[in-house]
């Protein structure tokens, strides 16, 4: 499902984020990506959904080489990948409900499907009662849960999450992880970038460790 072949990413001024990374993540796997801040976790995720391109090597996600993707193919490629961003990236001038429905609209879902589906995912993250609020009216943890709901709403083939429990208390973090497991059990490949070691220990899943751009793997 996700393959990195000799991938290196060098930013401007020679700042190297990833170095010779080779890894494969199979369909339906649940994988943690861990490492200290600045290790390259976010870059790793950005390379998968083609927000960034590798400086060297090749990234293949969902059988598509991200370098070979034409500009017009990018939206279709991204439609199959759900992303929970570290900074949430919610549309500030839209309500919670509109933030979720918007995704379904631009993905071309029929109008009759939108409302039920939006409330279904809001219920999953326990925020159906905040549907009419704007993101600025929510706490950091609530915004994070909305970002998760948005990523799940179209049942993507791959789910990427960048520090999805960073703003949540331990109980809620466990609930969210259980939700990710549930999604994963339906066949979605889940890749979660986190530095929450306790969580990783508890979940006992495959873990990729990034350190200064170098990848090491721990299988549990």
């Amino acid at each position: 499902m996700i393959h990195f072949f000799h991938v290196s990413k060098v930013y401007e001024k020679g700042n190297r984020a990833l170095h010779e990374v080779n890894v494969s993540i199979g369909k339906g796997e649940f994988v943690f990506l861990t490492g200290p801040s600045g290790a390259g976790k976010t870059t790793f995720l950005k390379l998968i959904f083609r927000e960034e391109l590798p400086s060297y090597g090749r990234v293949v996600a969902n059988n598509q080489n991200t370098i070979a993707l034409g500009k017009r193919q990018i939206p279709d490629f991204r439609k199959k990948i759900g992303v929970v961003f570290q900074d949430f990236k919610l549309l500030e001038n839209r309500t919670v409900f509109e933030n979720i429905v918007f995704i379904l609209k631009v993905l071309g879902y029929p109008a009759s499907f939108l409302r039920d589906r939006a409330f279904y995912v809001l219920k999953l993250v326990g925020l159906q009662h905040r549907y009419n609020d704007y993101p600025r009216q929510l706490s950091g943890g609530e915004q994070q849960r909305i970002a998760i709901a948005r990523a799940l709403v179209n049942e993507p083939l791959i789910l990427l999450a960048d520090e999805p429990t960073g703003n949540l208390d331990p109980d809620l973090s466990l609930e969210i992880m259980a939700l990710f497991e549930k999604i994963n059990s339906r066949g979605t490949t889940v890749l979660i970038a986190t530095h929450d070691r306790e969580m990783i220990k508890q979940m006992r899943k495959r873990t990729l460790h990034l350190d200064h751009g170098h990848l090491q793997e721990h299988r549990k």
Binding site: K71, R72, R78, K80, I81, K89, K105
Partner: protein, 295 residues
């Protein structure tokens, strides 16, 4: 069905964008409306001059001036004879006093001059309409009449007026093109600013997989709405301006009578002007939206 759903999405998003950036939209609408008002003003002048010229061309009025010693009876006989000719209509004998009255009405100065010299210098004349195909034969018929001093044909005046009108039309068209380009440039820049202001939203939409048409189309709708409202406001403003100018200034232009009779544009012209404004909005905003690039 999908097309309809997509279109209603663009309209709703476009309207939301339009109301969200209210100040910018108002600024853009005002600029467009000023351009459209000026275009409406010019179009009205052009339309009226064109109608006047066409009227003159289709129904030219000739004047046959008779020699000073011609009696009223001789004039009347000639007028009666002219009425019998083919292609001649509206024959009217104008005696010197009546001629002076008409002249004084159109040019008050001429009346003052006449009263100071105490003698009417105008000869008897015959006003008539001649079908263009009959002009040559009528002139031929009049040749042996020694009482005919000269025949005034409006064609020279008409051709002079036409060449003046086409020169003015070119000038008007040039100004209209400049105004249209300025409006498109304004809409382009206003939409560019709103795109820059919503860059964050655009990036988010792209990252979640929104197709470019979903991102660009609302901006195009926003610019088109600016064109529509600017067009309506400009057309109203322009026609209001014409009413004011007609009532306060043109009514006194006695020596250019068609100016005092200037009419408003027909509805089809207004529809055309508003359509032009919508096209300007569509073009400017499409140009601006096409510059949104993929993240």
């Amino acid at each position: 069905m999908k097309l309809l759903i997509d279109f209603s999405f663009y309209i709703r998003e476009g309207w939301a964008n339009f109301t969200r950036s209210r100040m910018l939209s108002i600024f853009s609408i005002l600029i467009i409306s000023v351009s459209i008002a000026i275009i409406t003003l010019f179009s009205t002048v052009f339309f009226n001059v064109d109608t006047y010229l066409k009227g003159m061309e289709n129904n030219p009025v000739y004047s046959i001036f008779l020699t000073p010693d011609t009696s009223a009876k001789e004039g009347k006989d000639l007028a009666l004879y002219l009425e019998t000719l083919k292609g001649v209509s509206n024959v009217k004998l104008v005696l010197p006093d009546e001629g002076m009255k008409k002249l004084a009405k159109r040019f008050p100065l001429a009346g003052e001059i006449q009263s100071s010299i105490e003698e009417n210098p105008l000869p008897i004349s015959i006003r008539l309409r001649i079908n263009t195909t009959a002009v040559a034969s009528v002139k031929q018929v009049l040749k042996p009449y020694s009482i005919v001093e000269s025949i005034y044909s409006p064609h020279f005046f008409l051709s002079q007026l036409k060449s003046l009108s086409s020169a003015v039309s070119f000038f008007i068209a040039l100004i209209a093109v400049i105004l249209i380009l300025a409006s498109i440039f304004t809409i382009y820049n206003v939409i560019r600013i709103t795109i820059l202001a919503r860059q964050n939203d655009i990036a988010i939409m792209q990252l979640v997989g929104a197709d470019m048409k979903y991102i660009r189309a609302p901006f195009t709708i926003e610019g088109t709405l600016q064109g529509l409202f600017g067009g309506i406001l400009g057309a109203l403003f322009g026609s209001g301006l014409i009413s004011v100018i007609r009532a306060h200034y043109l009514a006194h232009f006695q020596y250019l009578p068609f100016l005092s009779r200037i009419t408003s544009l027909p509805l089809s012209y207004f529809a055309g002007i508003i359509l032009l404004s919508i096209t300007m909005g569509l073009f400017g905003s499409t140009l601006a939206a096409s510059r949104i690039d993929y993240v």
